[in-house]
Amino acid sequence: MDVSDLLKQLDRSKRVVPPQENPLVSIKGLTKRFGKVLANDNISLNIYPGRVKALLGENGAGKSTLMSMLAGRYQPDAGTIELDGEPVRFTSARDAIEAGIGMVYQHFMLVEPMTVAENVLLGQEGSFFLNPREMRQRVRQLSEQYGLEIDPAARVSDLSMGEKQRVEILKLLYRDSRVLIFDEPTAVLTPRETFHLFEALWKIAAQGKSIVFISHKLEEVLAVADEIAILRQGRIEGEFSESEVTSKADLACRMVGKEVLLEVDREEVSQGETVLQVRGLTGIGLEDIHFELHQGEVLAVVGVAGNGQKALVEAICGLRKPPVNTMFIMGKRWRDFYAKPSWKNSLAYIPEDRLGLATCRNLNLVDNLLLTTRQGFARGPWLDKKKAAQDTTELIKKFDIRPGRIAALAWQLSGGNLQKSVLARELYRCPRLIVAEQPTQGLDIAATEQVWNHLLAAREMAGILLVTGDLNEALQLADRIAVIYRGRFMDLFPVSDKEKVRRIGLMMAGVERE
């Protein structure tokens, strides 16, 4: 069954939101930087007992950073956290758990070969010898109290993701946590498991505990939250109670942001041949995708993250197999194209994960250049490192990559310089098709502008598929825009169609479909 149908069964009328008491947790002016990136900028937020608070925002908006500070994983650079009106400082997750604040992470912290009961009671005080029957009994009681059905004797490695999550929740409840934070908890769940989780969240909140629900999924937030705070680019963009929400589209727009921060001049480039053709692609999480991409144009795929962008990019870039005869790259069938990939005049991928998928963190710029272009520097089995070093030096100058040393290791570069080095490498290959995924996420304005200009210039040789969650980026660069929602293109239209551009927010929220 579809998740939205199931969520409709969540009966709001049964949910009694308690009156606003003194806040249990009060966050005041929290700021956190990672290097040059300002992840959280002076954020203040109150969390009340008995209520479910949703933190809504795009990937990279700073939701997880904020909650990780509350859960003791990071220390804030500025600002204070108050618990019951008293300022507190956590130096580790353990401190926070002892104070009654616990977080369920996306990656579970469970010992797989041990049983549910053993995991829940691990690290708790007690006698030296264990009594398995008593342990199971205690966990069973707790699970019945909160309606989190689980077999205490089962091995964690045999459990489904939803059941594992329940074990994590039980761990927190067993430690008398008063604030339970969930980081994108539904990402790993089936629709039915999501439904059960939400029921459990209400049950836990009804016992006076506070729930914080981190998510970028609008409909889930609207289904379960009592209060919603929207985070964008490290700031609170808006805060209101569930009953105040009038339009889904408004939420979506606030999440993504509409104001123009940066403009670039975009001249039309004459279009050439078709470099990518997708015909009726259904499967791998996508549904009935049709489009063509020509050399000389930018096609932006916009949408809230997690709506099928990943699958589409992975299939185009050869990381995942699309259904037969649905994808044609440079006129060749997908299978034939990837049977004999060529390093030059071919496809270039600029991944979202710059320091993982795009580069090797401990290699220098020359070796990182060679990662995708080594065929150009090979003589038989030998690599021509001297020429590679020369060309890297030229690229560093041309793309203004700092520090200007070829010996710099990838991890030493700032996000913007690293991204420019990836662009330099990929454009060196004179690609005909470029797939750029969130190419300016986390970059400052100057670096963003440079990346945009490089991409626009690259239209001379290539067609560009731009996958982005930044609406402004799409409007600045794209010739055409496709809005993706739950694996489908809601619509595909030229950027000159002002009427449709205006309705992008609605489409991203899945409200409107032509």
């Binding site: 997750a93 758990i97 002892e98 912290m109 469970l110 010992v111 070969p113 041990m114 691990l122 264990l130």
Partner: protein, 307 residues
């Protein structure tokens, strides 16, 4: 082969399988905590020598046994310091211990080659030793063998039914999860490595005090490596370790008897048997391996400081 001969062979199997069992359980405890220790071979020879020397000078086999255990514990401590505190490579540290242990005993033990000591003598268990067949096979050994009969049960009980055992399992599987619930991963690993070292030390003591009763070079004779392989073969479970230890004990005893009987088979071939079996066993356990047969999740992975 006559009936008496088979009985004698099986008794010898238990006799030569016991030190392997001690060492295997020691390495198993270490690995349960997430630390790979390839120094077993070197730890065995050092502790065999320590046990021998203390027994020789004090005349007490029990003090000798204790000395062997402590020697193993100390060498385990070196490994724990290098890997847990200094975050050194576990493979390199273990290999260094093996080389160090071999060299050290060679160097210090040379003057004593051929010297004998009383050590542990067989202890006939009343009633049990008179049982037909079982008596001569299982109950006419030194007290260390009887200890080794209960040890796997103790091991199982410790790992599955005590808080400390559970914590060690957690640290071997996922140190981050253990730390998150307030356990002290480094301290737990120290315990696993040194307590495991103590058990390996007992196996060394067995060799010099109950197996040969005299000092000779190369006493450990590759048993340490066999123990490392047996942990994998045993899927990190104590009762399977018993099967493996006696399997190897049997092969070792068998090739000795065969050599003594003046067979035509080349002695080199017979000497090779235990090691060939090691390779075979490892191949087999890898081949039919399932999820449950895999080792602790964080085995060989050091605990990096947070941040």
């Amino acid at each position: 082969m006559s009936f008496e001969l088979i009985i004698a062979l099986l008794a010898a199997t238990v006799h030569s399988g016991t030190p392997i069992l001690f060492a295997t359980l020691g390495e198993m405890l270490t690995e349960k905590g997430g630390v790979l220790n390839l120094g077993v071979e070197g730890m065995m020879s050092v502790s065999a020598f320590a046990a021998f020397m203390i027994c020789l000078t004090t005349g007490s086999a029990w003090l000798g046994l204790l000395a062997g255990g402590v020697a193993g514990l100390l060498m385990g401590g070196v490994h724990a310091f290098v890997t847990v505190n200094c975050l050194g490579n576990q493979v390199v540290s273990g290999l260094a211990l093996t080389i160090l242990g071999g060299g050290l005993t060679e160097f210090m033990g040379t003057p004593y080659i051929g010297t004998s000591t009383e050590g542990f003598r067989p202890l006939m268990l009343p009633l049990l030793s008179d049982l037909p067949v079982l008596g001569p096979i299982f109950f006419r050994h030194s007290i260390l063998v009887y200890i080794s009969y209960i040890l796997p049960f103790l091991f199982w009980f410790f790992m599955r039914r005590t808080r400390l055992g559970l914590a060690i399992t957690a640290v071997g599987e996922m140190p981050a999860a253990a730390a998150a619930v307030g356990l002290k991963p480094r301290r737990l690993r120290w315990f696993a490595v040194t307590a495991g070292g103590f058990l390996v030390g007992l196996s060394g003591a067995y060799l010099s005090l109950a197996y040969t009763h005299l000092w000779t070079t190369g006493l450990s004779g590759g048993r340490g490596w066999i123990a490392v392989a047996l942990v994998i073969f045993a899927f990190w479970r104590p009762f399977r370790a018993v099967v493996g230890a006696y399997l190897f004990g049997g092969v070792m005893a068998f090739q000795l008897r065969l050599q003594a009987s003046g067979t035509d088979i080349a002695p080199q071939f017979l000497l090779m048997l235990p090691y060939a079996l090691t390779v075979l066993v490892l191949v087999l356990s890898a081949w039919r391996g399932t999820r449950r047969s895999q080792g602790p999740g964080a085995l060989g992975v050091n605990i990096e400081p947070e941040g």
